[in-house]
């Protein structure tokens, strides 16, 4: 939850709400780019960002993105984040079943 994941901003999807499509480890996810917009909204397209719980929080360079993703994979956090994104998508569809509840 606290470790962000690097994603590349692909395109702006909502100019009013400052939302954009990001590609995170091969998965596309709509995120808010509000925290990283300092000039024209279009300028964030093509940038790499650290994405925390759906918000692009810091612009990083491509090398930093690759290194961070490596470390996250080793920690098992990359997979955890991608699963959380899938959980989020499932949550919008309706109540979900509990697996392995005690």
């Amino acid at each position: 939850m606290c470790l962000g994941i690097p994603g590349k901003i692909i395109e702006i999807t909502d100019t009013t709400r400052l939302m954009a499509m990001a590609e995170v480890s091969g998965v596309r996810r709509e995120v808010s780019v509000a925290p990283i917009v300092t000039g024209a909204l279009a300028d964030v397209v093509g940038q790499w960002a650290l994405i925390h719980v759906g918000f692009a929080m810091a612009v990083i360079d491509e090398e930093e993105a690759a290194r961070t993703l490596d470390a996250l994979r080793t920690l098992g956090e990359a997979q955890e984040t991608l699963e959380a994104m899938a959980d989020g998508d499932a949550a919008l569809a309706g109540p979900t079943e509990v697996e392995g509840a005690a």
Binding site: M1, C2, G4, P35, V53, F55, E64, G88, T96
Partner: protein, 380 residues
Amino acid sequence: MKFSTEFRDPDAAKALLGEIARLCDDMGRSADNPLHIMEICGGHTHSIFRFGLDKLIHAGVEFIHGPGCPVCVLPMSRVDECVELAENPDVIFTTFGDAMRVPGTQKSLLQAKAAGADIRMVYSPLDALELARRNPDRQVVFFGLGFETTTPSTALSIQQAAREGLENFTVFCNHITVPEPIKALLDDPYMVLDGFIGPGHVSMVIGIHPYDFIAQDYKKPIAVAGFEPLDLLQSVLMVLRQIAAGEARVENQYARVVPEHGNPVSMAAIADVYERRPSFEWRGLGEIDASGLRIREKYRAYDAEEKFNIGYAAGPRKTPEVEGCDCGKVMTGRIKPTACPQFGKGCTPETPLGALMVSSEGACAAYWQYGGARGVAAAE
């Protein structure tokens, strides 16, 4: 430790470890009188164990695991309040998955969900906003949890809800701040801390100046760090160099992500939406002054505590912690997880008694995952 495969740059890691060892020897530090360096952030704790840094590093450095795991410091009373909110048939309760297995007095959120409560794990508060838009006849409550890293996400979501005039979206705010518990630990006469590894992603939001008091008032060095193993080793070295030179400054090892003054948009959103509570309860640490945030009056319609008259809005409250659990002592670095009588016996990741065993960022879960069996054997 397989340097060649685990470390991106094994030679750099060896050089840093060598320099740390030389400084420790120079200062006469060994396993008998180590320097106590607290890594504040639970992500750092996880990384230290995953990469075995606690074993690779000179015995003159002992890592003390700090309170920087938001799931771990959540008191049972707050979990109980989550369950109460979630069991309201009008409510869709949304939460980060990390919080699902934290034990409450009676049950966890996972158990409440199994019993029929409409609890949904989401990735982002934006998912909860979307649920509110799609379910206008239901109340969508988002469990706002975390330090300054996640606080902007709920602040910006509340601002968005207000702009849209959404009437069925609220946040159950449990956001907490890093500097206040650190001050509480520094004021604790039983704590012996020689320096700090500062949290990277929290600092990305708030910058490095909120830690000035650590250096100026308490004369302790701190280096804000990234969470790759080389980042951590480098930041330990920065702290050691300061100690050796008799200095105390705030250094920024993670400047490639952490701006000196933080993220202005996030800081503005936090200031607009939140104010400090007089105090907030931490699991294991008790009430800490000004350590928690609440939603300001102007956004009251988005405050689940107000809307459902629960938590601090319902008056004074206190719940006991689990008996026999030494979470508090582990949290303050007084004992190692393996010294807790419940570690690996009553308390395992599958059946956690205390929250430190729940999250991968919790010290107990880290000990268990990366040496748990060894730790239990050693303790017996």
